[in-house]
Symmetry: D2
Subunit: 382 residues, 4 copies
Amino acid sequence: MKSRNPIRLGMVGGGKGAFIGEVHRAASKLDGKYILCAGALSSDPRKSIASGKELGLDEDRIYETFEDMILKESRRDDSIEAVSIVTPNNTHFPIAQCCLDAGLHVICDKPFTLTSAQADQLIEKARKQNLVLAVTYNYSGYPMVRQARAMIRDGEIGKIRIIQAEYAQGWLSEPIERDGHKQALWRTDPERSGMAGCVGDIGTHAYHLICFTSGLTPKSLCADVSTFVEGRKLDDNANILLRFDGNATGMIWTSQVAIGNNNGLKLRIFGDKGGIEWNQEHPNELIFSPLNQPSQKITTGSPNAKIEASSISRLPPGHPEGYLEAFANLYTEIADSIMDARVGRFANTHTNTPSGYDGKQGAIFVESVIRSSSSGSIWVNL
Amino acid sequence: MKSRNPIRLGMVGGGKGAFIGEVHRAASKLDGKYILCAGALSSDPRKSIASGKELGLDEDRIYETFEDMILKESRRDDSIEAVSIVTPNNTHFPIAQCCLDAGLHVICDKPFTLTSAQADQLIEKARKQNLVLAVTYNYSGYPMVRQARAMIRDGEIGKIRIIQAEYAQGWLSEPIERDGHKQALWRTDPERSGMAGCVGDIGTHAYHLICFTSGLTPKSLCADVSTFVEGRKLDDNANILLRFDGNATGMIWTSQVAIGNNNGLKLRIFGDKGGIEWNQEHPNELIFSPLNQPSQKITTGSPNAKIEASSISRLPPGHPEGYLEAFANLYTEIADSIMDARVGRFANTHTNTPSGYDGKQGAIFVESVIRSSSSGSIWVNL
Amino acid sequence: MKSRNPIRLGMVGGGKGAFIGEVHRAASKLDGKYILCAGALSSDPRKSIASGKELGLDEDRIYETFEDMILKESRRDDSIEAVSIVTPNNTHFPIAQCCLDAGLHVICDKPFTLTSAQADQLIEKARKQNLVLAVTYNYSGYPMVRQARAMIRDGEIGKIRIIQAEYAQGWLSEPIERDGHKQALWRTDPERSGMAGCVGDIGTHAYHLICFTSGLTPKSLCADVSTFVEGRKLDDNANILLRFDGNATGMIWTSQVAIGNNNGLKLRIFGDKGGIEWNQEHPNELIFSPLNQPSQKITTGSPNAKIEASSISRLPPGHPEGYLEAFANLYTEIADSIMDARVGRFANTHTNTPSGYDGKQGAIFVESVIRSSSSGSIWVNL
Amino acid sequence: MKSRNPIRLGMVGGGKGAFIGEVHRAASKLDGKYILCAGALSSDPRKSIASGKELGLDEDRIYETFEDMILKESRRDDSIEAVSIVTPNNTHFPIAQCCLDAGLHVICDKPFTLTSAQADQLIEKARKQNLVLAVTYNYSGYPMVRQARAMIRDGEIGKIRIIQAEYAQGWLSEPIERDGHKQALWRTDPERSGMAGCVGDIGTHAYHLICFTSGLTPKSLCADVSTFVEGRKLDDNANILLRFDGNATGMIWTSQVAIGNNNGLKLRIFGDKGGIEWNQEHPNELIFSPLNQPSQKITTGSPNAKIEASSISRLPPGHPEGYLEAFANLYTEIADSIMDARVGRFANTHTNTPSGYDGKQGAIFVESVIRSSSSGSIWVNL
């Protein structure tokens, strides 16, 4: 069926040395649902071309700028259908805008736009044209995160009371941006990252995971935001209180100066009938503690594993699946939405895949944290 | 040397079925530094007498009331020298007052007094008479907690930036106080527990551990306190932000409705040169993450174990020491202080042992949390 | 009831600097069922006396030799009733013999006697006089070991197929006996330890744990025994295959040169309906994996905790109990047997407490391992 | 450079429903070094064709038999250069033979051939024609396994004394082959699996891992092999003792009836200067215990991470890499060898990649285990 042919993909950003661009490419490739056809892979034209060649793109589809790519591709019969945007945060908005205007589906790295107002514009554009607008909150692609979500939805932990999330890293404990560390440089630069550092870069992941799994959205928060490394221009730690509708409360701790932590994203949710616990560094296990029962370790092989988890698992239990596989799960779901769009089925309906809406929530979260913090860490509504 | 003879101890509270009284007795016995001589073990005289007999106390030293014990013991040549107070929170103050007035050293269960003003009075009384006034924040007696404290004092994690503490239990997830569960009953009763439930009962332990190990005292906090179980009269969960002098920040999560948690007291502290991590349920290990080095698991057998840890460890590494041993460590240190006091050396000087001062800090913490919470979860100074 | 008065205990060995003597004393004291009245605490008379004074024994009950203690105590009205033997292995037999001949109950440290023939003699002596003869395989005193045993007895893992046990330490990785390390010295000396080093010292614990929990006794074994440290006179590592009646098979690995291991005693048993897993360094958890169900973490607070576990647990779940508490559980059970014996109820009937019979099994194990190994690691019957 | 163009790959086996075929395809795709061009994907021609279509192969390159594929491909200009063999064990030999005879490089799933004599023939064939002959002992592709290997090679744990390996699964605890469980069926069928079940299927992985990381080869072994599930035709558990040159000893436990284990491949190696420990289910961590130092957790981000580990890691530390990534590492190294072979550089030289030689060692291991076991579990030389 032609409508299920692989999607012709273009990429903006992700040239040599980029971490996340390579991840997007690997993720798009794993299930064979995309062909990377074109790229404007760097803001530096020479690097863009060198990177494109290295990736084996046809020379006439390696572009110096994203505008160029969009323009010239639109004239081709075999034009790209979708664009992955893997540039620094500040450029997501103009690029996505341009892509949507050209009728291209958009897969944007998080944290999407710098403001929620920008997010609204993009959502509206996508909606009007029935284009897919996905935001890669990739941790939602882990089978055991889906398991947690399905269990909560099915009432297995009861009414939610408490949500504890944290995302702790330690790699920015010293001012490595001063030594020109590429990954540190743009993340600590307000020009490129927007109003928040750690809060935007990783706090938004924790925030999304909370909303995604619990089905709840915080109504207010109180944030204490710090910059511990001298001279750094953006936050590198934040302690946040959350309140949800229905009286549930929660906390987010996000840090990039917590020495000893690599990529410590953890989520715990407690209801009146049970609790669940998940740790990204050991992603294939979910601890489930039913009320008045021993804690259990759920894997995809467990009899109480949900179809939502096992259906996106590629391997038997005990065969570790990691970050790339979770990322690929999103790409594959996005592909399904794009393929649906080809035949006129309304896009953006895949309820599992983070979309512009989730990206907007992330922007609101960042705005709210900064607003709270800059007002003396008061409670603010989201 | 007579001055080192075992201490003649009396006990108030701790009759049949009491949990913490039995712990105090076992802890006092382990190193042979105390002899339990007298007791007023229950507010119910009959139960008091039955309990005393069961413990093998001389019949004439089993008392119906603590006032009786203090009065009659004072007339004996072999009078008790110290009293362990293991009654519900609301009675700590009057009993301790009475004991101190009678010239007796006091070992009081936490959270000491219901108010900081009461604490001040007791501290002053003890100070004037050179009496020991100890408060059993027992988790400070674990060797690896001492290790953490000594490492921080010696600069091994550098200047502190972030402190994350949590104390999560799940046993009050249902309204078991309604079924007459004895331990639940007094803990959820404002008459006996004071203004706070979970915050006072276990939150104060987390708070003390923070101060004890870090050497820092919070200057302000913002608390979101909840009562999740319908009809419960005191809090059963609190999410708290902390700020310390010198810009360090922190969080405390304390809960008794976190299903799946037994006694989950955890502490993580991060400085600019390293991080440490300790978990009460696996108390004989301390994770130490020096900057730009792999994380290490420190036990008492490690070459970098401090004398502060190994000197209070009774067994070789790998032979688990638990809650009772840690509690006994406090009792033994308190005994040393009392023995010193016998020969005129000023009491309350054992810097490791939690004292009335620490008890007062706990009361201030509780007062501040409730003040913050009842004012809409605003920031308040401690 | 007089028959339940504390037991008057004597001790042989356990002078200053001894590790296990101190453990026995603490264990005997914890539940108040013993009073240490007399001691011959060292083979060096001066040390014996100094140690006795330090322990606060009456001066006329501090003896220079164990023979002296047995003789002189027998003339007292308040004579000791039982003796704890905590000397090096080679002296267990003559001391126990002497005690039993004098009508004293015996509590002997493991590995009991050097040969099974000696064990038989002691068992026979005890049997004839209805004396308690206990051997402190202390790891059997952990609540979760009792839980495992009860679950297996109740068929919860079905018919046993596989037993994997290991006891790994690393402290003898270097020839520290050459530097006069006291604990290393006697353990590596055939004169004092008998025919085996590591196999006798810790391998017997693993062996006992297997028999105790599974209810099975191996019928044959094949052992590969090594001495890795040059110049050492006894083994420091052994790899052992086991076969049980009913086709179950198993392995024991025991080592004192496994760097990185402190006291790594672990047991895993698999039947046709489930598996269990226990680790001495985290003794308060038992992992239970029922067939086609998720693995569970059982603690004393779990609804499926057995009375055999919870009845010997002193604290609520999550409050760690350790090595001393487990040791004390044995001492308390032994006390119950001795108290029964006072009133003519046949001793040695406490089915939980390791006895001379278990000690004999340990001797047979050691003999079999050495016989197998010295014959080229062939299979031998036990 | 043309010599670095992607390799044109054919596949034998791996049709619909096959687990390992899909893994090979995903692994070959991840780094873009292969193009799957042709396939004889099932012994059932119809299934072979359906599977080929599903994979999007050109219709004229979907073959009914492997012989057909080899013949017809040899006539094409764009013929396949290499073949992945992912069929049941018994067919590896004839297929590989055929491929090598046709001048094709071979990537064969483990456990390679049923006998070591067959392995020798294939090795010789490959050697004569300078063809790559790789065997996918995939666990050797994990970064932390490479780390262990490099550390051992560099003397960081000193002279090896003890090696403990285990590979425990539980999925064959019941006779699921009787219900037609596809994966169980061929693994328990001597016709297709050869003389061993569990020993061949997973024991060979543990064996390879030992040799690969330690650099040692066992000289003799003693094996106790069991079939616990009634009616099963091949072994489902084996307990094995190993002896190495230089006095090192070891054990392998391999089981498919260990309930509660998913894919529990674990390796521990102890030398006279340190120990290492690795667990496949948490593959991104290596525990390193240097003599007289605390144990460390090494990840690819650790300062003592070796280039051998970090160079095959695709993601920053804390971003889990799993089974597929490790498998892909092998495929990429094999691709490098094939590309070298294109330009006349001798193949099979990549010292990291398991080759026919390793496959042969696996066959020798299986033969030795069965020989030992069937002779009464005596020691046999390898």
